[in-house]
Symmetry: C2
């Protein structure tokens, strides 16, 4: 509730860095114009970010009539951030430079059906070590990667302040102190959060929600959720569980949902529901690979893009439900943009987007609908890893003690 | 998106004044403890609010061992705020002192079915003049009320920055510049907004959402809506239309709704739907006064409170739908508190609250449900007038030019 001048300074640092990540180099004047901050504030922030080793001066630009303006840029090699996406069957890690370009990737497998905390911690640590070593091998030997932080996402409910996986149903975990366990293996600051929030923060910094005040990021996968970015920042709710749109009611007393309730959005638009729609419409369809959601949804997306009538009918039936549920978000939240994200959205692509837009138009009120863009996520890489790395970057930017002090390099 | 130090100063002024309205007098130390602000910040803010004529020093309190601490209080007679609630059939105005106590009330009738802008403007101006004259008649003649501002709520979609009623369906209005028209009649700053947002800001300042980061205020009347207070401030959305929860889908392809869609929450829990439930259950019920929602819902509430089985079944049927729709807000937004407000909630009271809580428990996810209180509005007066007056107070507190200057008294 209470906003402090430190919150403002952090938010302003975000704004300057976001602008520079999108467009480097830039003059202080361009940054002021792009962020709406004063020239004096921008000068101070550029000084702080330079002292943190995140920005560098890269020369001068002639200016009409005046003295040449100095240009600053993100120092891509000035540090590295690691994002780790933990799912039931894998641990996926990516190492990013400070321009948030992917430098190295690693994947570790997990046994489906519930891994013990120590095993998952070992796999995370191994994946992080792999990407750091791989990045070090290709880096300038005089300037090895300085790992500024590691962001880790864990499905389910997460207490980010204590670094605890409060509840991870697919793992059978309750109250696992993941950050503390990782600290025994990794010499970097670790930031724990949930994949829905990571995907949302990735859109906020680098995707379709950049520069928008109010955005909703819809994650379409096996489960579904809606990450909320309101007032230009993540809306977490009182226990960091906001966004459970998949378990809002679309059909009162409707289909059973795995949450125990009935008629939830997820029961109609999650990947298993899409497979069910295909199975009901065309039980012998060649598109259907039983027990393989990824293969089936992928085949469905390719067939729909090629104009296959069965695939298009399944997409339309999915969009009929999805559109009504997206219209609820338009009416309730009046956002500027709604982003369709995650693997189901990527697989079904434009045919889904087109049908969803039409279905939303049928259900939403005219005025908020006219103000809302509905788009596919423009992020080309894994948005969860990118968002996890962004949490690590936010950790760097909000550290009060770092101003003007060089970060200690950590190498394994 | 961008927060400035002026926003922070305004928010901090709100915090200090809210604290003092709830509990006057207080020492600067108590204010610092109650708001979480530093002693130095509180001292500056108290100075500003005193210069604005909103606070006064009221003496000293002994402190253990130290020098006596000076106490400040809201100067209730230091100014007046007017809140005006415009509905299809009436204009209701209330004049408040600075402690937000009601000093005078006035009501003007409107013909149902659409009044012209000039007529509504005339009624609003007349109601405001009546309350100001009535307050002046009872005030200290040496200190007549200084009207600091007038808040006006208009149903439908409102552009508060331009002061325009963009769309008021029950009036048949489009793009009526209400604030400019009122300026020809009233010598006070006018703040225009919508009644849903007024009821929400009233809870945020004076009711069940005070001191809460994330709250939802559910307006139950002929229409229904959900005002959102997120991050301690009103969430308006990109075109100030957030909160249209009444037109989110509860039963896909369900009952027709007056918005043109089908299966909306409002079609199941608005006053006409409650009357329909009573009519279907007991067509000859003595509780039913056809064409009079207020009388019927009032009788239903009294009968339910007295244990009448028919009335209780109607309340339960309403709560079955309302609870599912409230659970959607719990799951999506993870708020600290959900407030049931407006005349239907007041009429059905505790029997409705009890049934709604049980229905929400059946539909919401366990963890956010455990973190959410569900309560009836504790505001004893008309929350829309109170909220409209609060918008006027917020206007005073956010005026940058007012610091240290006395306000010009305006008397008609």
């Amino acid at each position: 509730m209470k906003r402090t001048s430190r919150d403002i300074r952090t938010a302003n640092r975000y704004a300057v860095l976001r602008h520079l990540i999108a467009k480097s180099p830039a003059s202080r004047g361009e940054l002021a114009a792009g962020t709406g901050l004063s020239q004096a504030t921008v000068a101070t922030l550029v000084g702080e970010l330079t002292a943190l080793g995140l920005l560098v001066e890269v020369g001068f630009e002639e200016s009409a009539g005046g003295r040449p303006r100095s240009l600053v840029a993100v120092d891509a090699a000035g540090g590295a951030l690691v994002g780790v996406d933990v799912a039931e069957t894998y641990v996926h890690a990516e190492l990013f430079d400070l321009a948030l370009g992917v430098v190295a990737r690693a994947e570790e497998e997990l046994r489906p059906g519930g891994s013990a905390p120590q095993e998952v911690v070992g796999r995370i640590a191994a994946a992080v070590r792999t990407v750091v070593e791989s990045a070090a091998a290709t880096a300038d030997p005089h300037r090895p990667p300085r790992v500024l932080g590691v962001g880790v996402t864990m499905p389910g409910q997460v207490d980010r302040e204590r670094g605890v996986a409060v509840r991870a149903a697919n793992f059978g975990w309750r109250d696992v102190p993941l950050t503390a366990l990782l600290a025994e293996h990794l010499p970097y600051p670790v930031h724990l959060d949930n994949p829905l929030r990571a995907a949302t923060v990735a859109e906020l910094w680098f995707g379709a929600a950049r520069g928008r005040d109010d955005a909703v990021v819809i994650n379409l996968g096996t489960g579904v959720g809606a990450g909320l970015a309101l007032g230009g920042a993540l809306h977490r709710g009182v226990t960091n569980s906001a966004g459970e749109w998949g378990h809002t009611t679309l059909v009162l007393d409707g289909r059973p949902c795995r949450c125990g309730d009935a008629g939830c959005v997820e029961a109609y638009v999650g990947a298993p529901a899409i497979m069910r729609a295909l199975r009901e419409l065309a039980p012998d369809s060649a598109l259907l690979t039983e027990d393989d959601q990824t293969a089936t949804i992928g085949a469905l997306g390719r067939a729909a893009a090629a104009g296959d009538p069965v695939a298009l009918r399944v997409v339309r039936e999915t969009a009929r439900h999805l559109g009504a549920a997206v219209a609820d978000l338009v009416n309730l939240l009046n956002p500027e943009v709604i982003v369709l994200s995650s693997w189901v959205a990527a697989a079904l692509g434009t045919p889904l987007l087109t049908e969803v837009r039409e279905a939303v138009a049928r259900h939403a009120l005219g005025s908020p609908f006219a103000a809302t863009e509905i788009v596919l996520s423009p992020i080309p890489t894994d948005p969860v890893c990118l968002g996890a790395a962004t949490f690590a970057l936010e950790g760097v930017l909000s550290s009060p003690g770092l101003t003007g002090t060089a970060l200690t390099p950590h190498m394994t």
